[in-house]
Amino acid sequence: MTAPLLEVKDLSVHFPTEDGVVRSVDGVSFTVERGETLGVVGESGSGKSVTFLTVMGLISRKDARISGEILFEDRNLLALGDDEMRGVRGEKISMIFQDPLTALNPLHRVGKQITEAIHAHHEISKKDAWTEAVDLLGRVGIPRPDARAREYPHQFSGGMRQRAMIAMALALNPSILIADEPTTALDVTVQAQILELIDRLKDEFNTAVVLITHDLGVVAEYADNVQVMYAGRIMESGSLTDIFNDSFHPYTWGLLQSISRLDQKQERLLPIKGSPPSLINLPPGCPFHPRCPYIFDPCNKEVPPLLEDALGHLSACHLSLADKQRIFSTQVAVKA
């Protein structure tokens, strides 16, 4: 088996604040393999964004206590100095964000924002950098890229702005592209276009993609593997089919039951009762237990470890494998 591109080991990111310590990420371990699209699903506060912001080195040690290891290209990114990390950011691992309007500098021309990224990592003439930028804009599907490159972000539509962001992120051919809610701020019709674009470019640029989202629908179409996060921990991870057709965690079941699906009979959509826990005062034991319909004795005492229930399919739940399979097939997955 080839070595994973990125390996995160027991990562914790805690923010001391006036009201207490916010445990945004609490002991998270996973890998990103070459050429895969990893879908990271979770609601607001699940720690999915903070995890990858930490991978990018965008969480300052002045603000947070970070522990664990992030292994990339035989180095622990957390041990790197600022300059070395800056060499990785943008060139080896890059990230795009949710709202392209606010994520782009309103006062800089779009082309310049791309060449800036190029100049930061390569010695290259201004002219060549500009040519590359224009070329990139073309490859992400922006018509008349030479004229567009000279324009400002507010002159682009939402979808075009996100394409420009993608161009910027792929400019240096990174090994991993992290897309944090890339479509949430866009119109529904545009969402599909952008996701398709990322999928296509993934092959063209030979990049692994991490797709962070709260929307299972997004994941269903494009992810190879899925990781479900809640309250700063991974609840379940596995391949796409594992998660959708054979899931082993009550939280995932809850998510599956709250979206509409064409391949299953659903009487009603069932939201998950309750609300996410405070990251300062996490409940004892399993963080999901206050909202879980299947709790039993150990749930509010011991934190369930993330264990492999089947090949490559992990879940963090005290329920026995047999129980999980039974519950899933009888209550969650009712075939239409």
Binding site: F15, P16, T17, E18, D19, V22, S24, E43, S44, G45, S49, D63, A64, F97, Q98, D180, E181, T184, A185, H214, G254, L255, S258, P271, I272, S275, P276, P277, S278, L279
Partner: protein, 314 residues
């Protein structure tokens, strides 16, 4: 010590009570080490409290002036003129032997009264007009903007001086004139606040439920504007005191023999070389008063209006 202006938007902790299908808001978090947090909390309270204490002291001195000061502020004693601070005259005497301590205390009365009255009057007028203009918009708003544009294009000291020239130099006239000028920036700020509140979703929600304008103003707009308004009025006191002092210093404010800190300084100018204490004390009191009002006002702003942008520009 904290910032004078409120924190920029976006520095709140992650929202925790969010339904599962809500879009993600990745917000910045203000994180400090526990030691820093405790230190800041302590300092914050300590400073505002210190400011309040100083202010109260000054106000008490002014109120109880007749009992504290040994001499009357107008009592002339030529034999003892231009004396430096000593046991009998804590702040020295002026050129005709008047006790400076008494004069500063009595002067404080006037300056404080003027400051408070102007802030309140201009606060009320400005709030009402600004709220009406901001809420109803239309021609009322236009008229307001035009009028304030005209007056705000003349340096306001000039406006004040010209206006004061039309009247006598009594305290009442000064308060009137200052209020008639100060309401304008207040109105513009309140208008801005109301405008931004009007856009907020909870107002739209109330409206869609059928609430009348009056109800919206009373139940939704006003409660949310009280915070900024209190801050404006408080900081307005500081502004008013400084402005009245400046006006009196230039000779266009309250006229002698009624003492204010400003005209005490005006009278002291000629004697700068031989009686500098005539300059130190009145000015020091202005500085201390304004400083404490500003500190208290800032503390209030932090408590009442921490995340709204109270932009000084309109």
């Amino acid at each position: 010590m904290r910032e004078i202006e409120p924190l920029p938007a976006g520095t709140q902790p992650l929202p925790v009570d969010v339904p599962t299908t809500a879009p993600v808001i990745v917000a910045e978090m203000k994180a400090r080490t526990p030691r820093e947090i405790a230190w800041r909390r302590f300092k914050r309270h300590k400073l505002a409290v210190a400011g309040a204490i100083v202010l109260v002291l000054i106000v008490l001195l002014a109120i109880f002036a007749p009992w504290i000061a040994r001499y009357n502020y107008g009592h002339i004693d030529l034999a003892n003129s231009l004396l430096g601070p000593d046991g009998k005259h804590w702040f020295g005497t002026d050129n005709i032997g008047r006790d400076e301590f008494a004069r500063v205390l009595y002067g404080g009365r006037i300056s404080l009264i003027v400051g408070l009255s102007v802030a309140l009057m201009s606060g009320v007028i400005g709030t009402v007009i600004g709220a009406v203009a901001g809420f109803y918009g239309g021609w009322i708003d236009n008229v307001l903007m035009r009028i304030t544009d005209i007056f705000l294009s003349i340096p306001f000291l000039v406006v004040l001086i010209l206006a004061v020239s039309l009247l006598s130099g009594s305290v009442f006239d000064i308060v009137l004139v200052l209020s008639l000028v100060f309401w304008m920036p207040n109105a513009r700020i309140v208008r801005g606040v109301v405008l931004s509140l009007k856009e907020k979703e909870f107002v739209e929600a109330a409206r869609s439920l059928g609430a009348s304008n009056r109800r919206i103003i009373i139940s939704h707009i006003l409660p949310n504007s009280i915070g900024p308004i209190i801050v404006i009025v408080t900081l307005g006191v500081a502004q008013a005191i400084i402005t009245e002092s400046a006006l009196s210093f230039l000779g266009f404010g309250v006229q002698p023999p009624v003492p204010t800190w400003g005209n005490l300084l005006a009278g002291a100018r000629q004697f700068t070389l031989i009686a500098p204490w005539m300059i130190w004390f009145p000015g020091l009191f202005i500085l201390l008063t304004v400083l404490s009002v500003n500190i208290v006002g800032d503390g209030l702003r932090d408590a009442l209006d921490p995340h709204q942008s109270l932009g000084v520009r309109t």
